[in-house]
Symmetry: C2
Subunit: 344 residues, 2 copies
């Protein structure tokens, strides 16, 4: 009662008493197959537990039914969420996901990616930030008419090739939150200016505050490196001056954690003496003490949309088209922000 050899399209054809061409038609949903024939074939397919072989199929029509995921991101949680989002669509549509972490600072990273693509035969690639910000990689792919979708924080490609996390606009929410709590002496630890996400967040934050008649002085904006240690460094500068800000927004939770550490060492109480917010809703954002007010990207939703777009780019005719392009992160309020009591 065991199925030893997996059945092929030929077996199905033979048992059903038709040609394999007809079976092929049924598999691919061709309309030109008689009702009764189709049903018979379908039942045989079930009976034989037949699954079309991806490799043979790919060989014949030059597709692998493999999607590539290219990234270079230290945030493992983010990667994991993206993978799950992608896979929920992949599984549903008969694709598999092949991962390719890379090092986008390295000089040969474009070749490394191109290499990955050609040797793995993936039908298309999903590119995560910050790699997605690479213009060189994107144009290399575009030039080769190779299907790709980027996930990024700014509008840097055709809407068919990108899903945008609108972080600039999301800054409105955190700005509003802090201002409504009475803060006006606000500082920001920005991210590396080479990242477009950093620029979006910085400008978005600063603009949003300006709209509310608050201007951040030059010396209250310090660029960090998105790391915990870097957050500590900047926090030290920000919190040891003669006057310290009443609120700090950090470009990510990692650096915010650094601020918490330094504040703790300096005896500055959060949120009583200092409000603090981050970005990401990293895994420890809710664990850390105080728990962190932060902005969260709907990562899974974003990657689902991106995957749909990619598969659509691969099969322009078959797949229902995905229209969404811009998705906004949202505010999560926790312990680290509170109303500003003292004011100069």
């Amino acid at each position: 009662m065991e199925i030893k050899t997996k059945s092929t399209i030929n077996d199905v054809a033979r048992v059903a008493g038709v040609s394999k061409r007809t079976v092929s038609r049924v598999i691919n949903g061709s309309p030109s197959v008689g009702q009764i024939t189709r049903e018979r074939i379908n039942s045989v397919i079930k009976e034989l537990n037949f699954k079309p072989d991806k490799q043979a199929r790919g060989l014949a029509n030059k597709k692998s039914y493999l999607l590539g995921l290219i990234y270079d991101n230290p945030d493992a949680l983010y990667i994991d969420q993206v993978q799950r989002g992608c896979l929920s669509i992949c599984t549903q549509l008969g694709y598999e996901l092949v991962v390719h972490p890379c090092q986008w600072q390295k000089e040969d990273f474009v070749n490394d990616c191109l290499n990955f693509i050609s040797r793995s035969n993936v039908d298309g690639v999903l590119i995560l930030p910050p790699v997605s910000e690479s213009k060189i990689l994107a144009s290399a792919l575009r030039e080769r008419h190779y299907p790709y979708v980027r996930i990024a924080s700014a509008d840097l490609d055709d809407h068919a090739n990108i899903v945008i996390s609108n972080e600039r606009e999301a800054m409105e929410d955190i700005a509003e939150h802090l201002v409504s709590l009475g803060h006006s002496d606000i500082a920001m630890i920005s991210g590396p200016s080479q990242f477009c996400s950093s620029r979006e967040r910085l400008e978005g934050f600063s603009d949003s505050l300006k709209k509310r008649n608050i201007t951040i002085p030059e010396n209250r904006i310090i660029e960090g490196k998105n790391s915990y240690e870097s957050g500590m460094e900047v926090a030290n500068k920000l919190l040891t001056g003669t006057t310290i800000p009443t609120a700090i927004f950090a470009n990510n939770d990692e650096m915010a954690a650094g601020v918490i550490r330094v504040a703790s060492d300096l005896g500055i109480k959060i949120p009583e003496q200092l409000s603090l917010a981050g970005f990401d809703d990293n895994i420890f954002a809710s664990r850390i003490i105080p728990s962190l007010t932060t902005l969260r990207r709907p990562v899974e939703e974003i990657s689902i949309v991106a995957t749909r777009k990619l598969i659509q780019a691969i099969n322009p005719q078959n797949t229902p088209l995905e229209q969404t392009t811009v998705i906004k992160p949202y505010l999560i309020t926790r312990e680290s922000t509170a109303s500003c009591i003292t004011k100069s």
Copy 2:
């Protein structure tokens, strides 16, 4: 000066003036090819930038050059590290990695995995804990003579099919650490007893303490669920009694973080009044305040060894055999543990 169409074995054969069979021989390193012929072919291969097509190759010899990674683990960092470890070997040996997160509690999870394997055509699978502890899945694979390697914390399979993280022995280190700091009233928050890793750690810890003439009373061992919230719950029981332990070992960092939260709320100072240790060296173990003394698995090394074993299982003759099977986690000392001053 651009290569439009990727070249095939036929192109190489034609240009080199030989039959494609000979080219195939060169590709696969067959010894029976003349020196000059081989060199000529090799130069043509380079010139044409020829790369054998994985799909065609797979169709012909029933291999996909794809490896599957099966897991169901909430620790994204762990997954990420494993993926990188695997890939460092995969790339080197011409394999790609296909990911498959699953839900091992669900009743049809074995079928789900089997399904994944057959539809993706992966040549073999790497199974991560806790899925790796599933006897049903492992025997299903073994029965089908399907190459697999498990990563687990106990010796539950042939050494060809497993890489063991010896957590039982690693407990010696943390026990020794705590005892040497003067602790004797020690509590443990164990993990779900269904997990073999939980049992290993519990028994290992308790045995190691016994060797040092310390016995943990029944009421000092409470089972948690490995989650932050669960850690808080158990911590509440442990820290609100008439006498509280001077040290707690938590089955993972996640729960240890819960303990920190509760201790903070109760005004219990760590490590002054309470020493605390976890397991995993989770991403926030070094970020949290106080930073956490913990046990770290050499995840990347483990996954590298496992991948080598898997590829060897797939190609019994070609690959150099991997002998390592047991790898021990190691202690990382941080702020959360200190010497015990007060003693009853």
